[in-house]
């Protein structure tokens, strides 16, 4: 096994273990803290896949903003100590186990039998023009108005964010 494979397995094991901690722990604050590990390890996976920009964005938005948002929501909806000791799962949790195992089996089966249009093994070459880094390439693809780019989806995404900001303020306002 080469170094990349070893690093992948280390990150994957920590990632799945932390995700299991998120869904199994009784104390929900501990779940939220395990979620930070999940997001950070996902950033490691992105680095393995030559996606530096997404790795940085993952750390900034998920490990930074979303986790803080979740912790604030937990702080504001703290009912009492009774909730700490009560069962965190609902009555149909065994049904959820069956459904998620079924969905997972289907996904793995589909990934195994379907012919891939992309290469099975890659060193990441042939993706970027010579002398252009991942961040520069994504900047060109998102902003460039003259060549092939995603300017219109980018502008629509900014509108979505604006609506989400106004909506969150209107919904969460005290009156």
């Amino acid at each position: 096994m080469d170094l990349v494979t070893v690093i992948f397995w280390i990150i994957a094991v920590i990632l799945v273990g932390a995700a299991l901690l998120v869904v199994t722990q009784r104390n929900i604050v501990h779940s939220a803290l395990s979620l930070v590990i999940v997001f950070a390890m996902a950033a490691g996976i992105y680095l393995l896949l030559n996606a530096e920009f997404i790795a940085i964005v993952q750390i900034l938005i998920y490990a930074g903003a979303v986790t803080i948002l979740i912790l604030f929501a937990l702080m504001l909806t703290r009912t009492s100590n009774i909730q700490l000791n009560s069962n965190p799962n609902n009555k149909q949790w065994w049904l959820a186990v069956i459904v998620s195992a079924f969905v997972g089996a289907i996904i793995v089966y589909a990934a195994a039998v379907s012919p891939h249009a992309v290469a099975a093994v890659s060193d990441g070459s042939g993706q970027l023009p010579a002398g252009i880094s991942n961040v520069v390439r994504i900047g060109q693809l998102l902003y460039s108005p003259t060549t092939y780019s995603y300017v219109l989806p980018f502008e629509i995404a900014s509108l979505v964010l604006l609506v989400a900001i106004v909506g969150a303020i209107v919904i969460g306002r005290e009156d």
Binding site: V23, V66, A96
Partner: protein, 107 residues
């Protein structure tokens, strides 16, 4: 043996299932939201994996999977903000975040 695309697909599938279980089985609405965030991350890993293993000439340089992952992150952040505002609003009205007790729209 080196890494192949199937490593990342199976990792994404396992993570998606864990998130699905969390979203379906939890009573606290914030825990449900955490499960959804894990599911979105699993999809992002799959997207970036496809982007890395895409060797089709010209199209591989468009990095479609990575751009898709960026938009998923954008929408997920907006979704988290709105969902948490809703949870706080519901908590203020009904003093509970148990999704089993929030049944006012049940017929």
């Amino acid at each position: 043996m080196g890494l192949s695309l199937n490593h990342f697909l199976v990792l994404g599938a396992v993570l998606f299932c864990i998130g699905l279980y969390g979203a379906l089985a939890k009573r606290n609405a914030v825990a449900v939201l955490m499960g959804i965030e894990i599911m979105l991350n699993a999809v992002n890993i799959t997207m970036v994996g496809f982007s890395f293993y895409n060797r089709v000439p010209t199209y591989a340089t468009y990095l479609t999977g990575q751009i898709f992952a960026i938009f998923i992150i954008t929408v997920a952040a907006a979704e988290a903000a709105v969902a948490l505002a809703m949870i706080i609003a519901i908590y203020r009205k009904r003093s509970t975040v148990d999704v089993g007790e929030i049944d006012i729209m049940k017929w």
